[in-house]
């Protein structure tokens, strides 16, 4: 009798346990301050709402891991935060699940998702969450009369000192042309010609000897803080976090910023595809996107989120609006990263860039 009770108890207990044990999804992003903003704004509220678990993993961008997992038929990632070029490339190569845009929630103002998201934020396999930007920054405490325009960045006689640049042709060639006097709207037209590419490299030549190259997003604020460079290009959110979170005296120059998007994608054959889709819908809703913007200065990908963006999460006096790449004051000379251009010419230009570096 007793044994029977215990057995029944055990079975019931086990049954309860399995029904309570909620699903779990693996969400992969870029780490650091950026992942933290997502954990606060997306993961935690979603876990409270649904009772499911989110396992957060970091990676350094690129499609290699997704490709390896899909090719081997052993996919462990459910949702990945990728750059736009990778979102489109991965979709073309059949590495990603397609996403039905009609299933995305409406904006807080009632507009349908397809018109609420900014241009280019929705692609066949991806949904954007943020707009980020490559800018350049300097240390105010070391340069009282600092640079104002992209021309100053390339002027080492007026502003002596080392320059930090990302070790990739992306954004560098655009900024070089802008510094050489090309208007923001014409950058890719000029870069599409052989003479334009030569012109960009020629401009880069003028500062090549004083460049320190960086690769990970966390490096440029460190280079600035160490005094290793006088000014450096960087992702705007990283510089923002260095001064908002750590009180570093860094100043961003928005002239000729090159802006881009980060998007959620689901690898083909993801183990918890439905849950990942639910998380994707939840996290790209109006409030969540606006909430993330209180942790890091990346612009939300929905128009309806913009009015809700307020101030830094623990500093009510620090309004986020003026620090966004999309703020009108910052946006005047902004260059939109042309995905199609880079998908077509990325390999060749990177080759040329690498060989230019090695010389």
């Amino acid at each position: 009798m007793k044994l029977k009770n215990i057995l029944i108890g055990a079975f019931v207990g086990a049954g309860l346990a399995t029904s309570v044990t909620a699903g779990s999804i693996t969400v992969v992003s870029w780490g650091g301050a950026y992942t933290k903003s997502q954990v606060e704004a997306y993961h935690k509220p979603w876990m409270t709402k649904t009772g499911h678990q989110v396992v957060s993993e970091d990676y350094n961008g690129g499609l290699a891991e997704v490709k390896a997992q899909v090719d081997a038929g052993n996919v462990t990632w459910d949702l990945v935060d990728v750059e736009k070029s990778d979102a489109v490339k991965g979709c073309d190569e059949g590495l990603l699940e397609t996403i039905d845009h009609g299933s995305l929630p409406k904006g807080a103002d009632g507009s349908v998702a397809t018109s609420d998201f900014i241009d280019g934020a929705l692609t066949e396999c991806a949904v954007a969450n943020i707009v980020w930007s490559t800018i350049f920054a300097y240390d105010k405490s070391k340069m009282s009369n600092g640079p104002k325009t992209i021309k100053d960045f390339f002027d080492t006689s007026k502003f002596p000192g080392k320059r930090g640049l990302r070790k990739s042709p992306k954004a560098n060639l655009e900024m070089a042309l802008a510094a050489d006097g090309v208007a923001a709207g014409d950058v890719y037209k000029v870069l599409g010609t052989a003479a334009g590419v030569d012109r960009a490299f020629k401009k880069l030549d003028t500062i090549k000897d004083s460049v320190v190259w960086w690769e990970a997003g966390a490096q440029p604020p460190q280079l600035l803080a160490d005094g290793e460079v006088a000014m450096t290009t960087a992702y705007n959110g990283r510089i923002f976090n260095a001064f908002a979170g750590e009180g570093k005296p860094f100043e961003i120059v928005w002239d000729a910023q090159v802006f881009d998007m980060d998007l959620w994608v689901i690898p083909k054959g993801a183990p918890n595809k439905d849950l990942a889709m639910d998380f994707l819908k939840f996290s790209t809703a109006t409030e969540q996107l606006a909430g993330q913007a209180s942790w890091i200065s990346y612009g939300p990908a929905r128009k309806s989120s913009a009015p809700l963006v307020a101030s830094y999460h623990n500093k009510p006096s620090l309004k986020m609006g003026p620090h966004m790449p999309t703020a009108p004051e910052n946006f005047k000379t902004a260059i939109a990263n042309d995905f199609e251009f880079w998908a077509d010419n990325g390999d060749e230009l990177t080759e040329r860039f690498n060989s230019w570096l090695a010389k």
């Binding site: 073309d92 059949g94 160490d226 990177t350």
Partner: protein, 416 residues
């Protein structure tokens, strides 16, 4: 023959020779079965994957399998005259099919490697392909002027070759044309040969530097009393057991322009505050960090060989009138050659494929070929080119191994 007459037989009438052979065979088989698990493991997890990956350097079936019609049609095309309507028709049919199967991205990526800009040409044209009508060549050109360009078709013809020399040639800065010629890559895109040479240069310098620095340390360790030499051994092993990343980043802290070394030099008045040395993010940084990291691989084999050399040899030499130098150079040093050889080849082969350290401290002129391989594995996803570069690197290593065997002799190597 007298062999036959001399043959001995055991009691059961079987020749002894045969019996011996049988029992030898049995024990050989037993030994073979004992190592079989290891052999199978090596074959499945080492040999087959490597062969599989390296074969990608000259095999690329993507275009040929995904676009079979145009592959067939282009086979007979000479690469010089303008493509026929038949080729254009096959192309349109293939494009429609690839769009339907969602394989157009793979095709476009492949062709784009031969000619930049063809990626969007393929994806765009494929979207409109099912509405196209004969004559197809005109329809294609109407969609995009690039179809009129002979270069586009030449790039497609090269992509359609399943066995392709493109990647291996690209690994040595050459390219293959549709006319079947091999020409040099455009000057501002040449990079691999420079990097291969630099990789060898860095590896040689690091090997020599570790030898110069490590030999005296090994000698000291071998000649000191056990207790002191054990302490020294721990000092050598301690960094060896520390994570590679930790050691590399420690060098960043030491060598950067506001780092310990530069601060010290400024303090000592060796250099001015605004003219600090660039010791990191360049070749110097790569050389310093790699030398330090690879030092134990040189010291340990030399030490283990020196340990076995009896001190009486040197004493005997001296007693017969040799000077210190002669005793060392003519007697002691030759006996340490097996250790030096082992250490040198170990360091050299490790150095030639080094990757994390140059990536972190190499800056622009301290990069090695492995960093480009990593780039093609991780960023550009051009695994074929990565495989081709890897194959060339492997050939280099085998060549140096052969050179070593030729001049030092592989039997002379002693790892401890």
């Amino acid at each position: 023959m007298n062999n036959f007459t001399e043959e001995n037989f055991s009691s059961d009438g079987v020749s002894l020779k045969k019996k011996l052979r049988r029992s030898l065979f049995k024990s050989k088989m037993r030994a073979f079965f004992l190592v079989l698990p290891l052999l199978a493991f090596l074959a499945i997890f080492f040999v087959i994957p490597i062969i599989n990956l390296l074969s990608q350097s000259f095999l690329d079936f993507r275009y040929a399998t995904l676009m079979p019609g145009s592959t067939q049609a282009l086979k007979d095309w000479d690469g010089k005259s303008f493509p026929t309507e038949e080729i254009a028709k096959a192309m349109v049919i293939d494009l429609i099919q690839a769009k339907k199967n969602k394989t157009i991205g793979k095709v476009a990526t492949r062709v784009n490697r031969e000619l930049s800009g063809t990626r969007s040409l393929f994806t765009k044209t494929a979207r409109a392909a099912n509405k196209m009508e004969a004559p197809y060549m005109e329809a294609l050109i109407k969609k995009d002027k690039k179809w009129e360009n002979l270069k586009t078709w030449q790039a497609i013809k090269i992509s359609s070759m399943a066995v392709t020399p493109s990647y291996l040639l690209a690994a040595v800065d050459r390219k293959y044309t549709a006319e079947g010629e091999i020409i040099q890559q455009d000057e501002n895109r040449r990079i691999h040969v420079t990097l291969f040479l630099r990789t060898i240069e860095i590896s040689v310098i690091v090997t020599l530097a570790t030898l110069l620095l490590g030999y005296p340390v090994a000698f000291l360790m071998a000649s000191l009393p056990l207790r002191t030499s054990n302490l020294l051994l721990i000092l050598v092993l301690l960094p060896f057991w520390t994570s590679l990343l930790v050691r590399t980043t420690a060098w960043i802290a030491m060598l950067q322009s506001s780092g310990v070394v530069n601060d010290l030099l400024v303090f000592l008045g060796v250099t001015a505050d605004d003219a600090r040395f660039s010791l990191i993010y360049n070749k110097t940084g790569t050389l310093i960090a790699m030398t330090h990291i690879l030092l134990p691989f040189m010291i340990l084999p030399i030490y283990s060989v020196m340990k076995t050399i009896s001190p009486s040899f040197v004493m005997a030499a001296k007693s017969m009138g040799a000077t210190n130098w002669t005793a060392f150079w003519r007697v002691y040093f030759p006996m340490t050659i097996p250790g030096v050889g082992a250490g040198a080849i170990l360091v050299f082969i490790l150095a030639i494929g080094y990757y994390i350290t140059p990536a972190l401290v190499g800056g622009q002129d301290g990069q090695m070929i492995s960093n480009i391989i990593d780039f093609h594995m991780r960023s550009s996803l051009n695994w074929n080119l990565a495989a081709a570069l890897g194959l060339v690197l492997l050939i280099f290593i085998l060549f140096f191994f052969w050179l070593y065997d030729r001049f030092v002799g592989i039997d002379n190597m002693k790892l401890g």
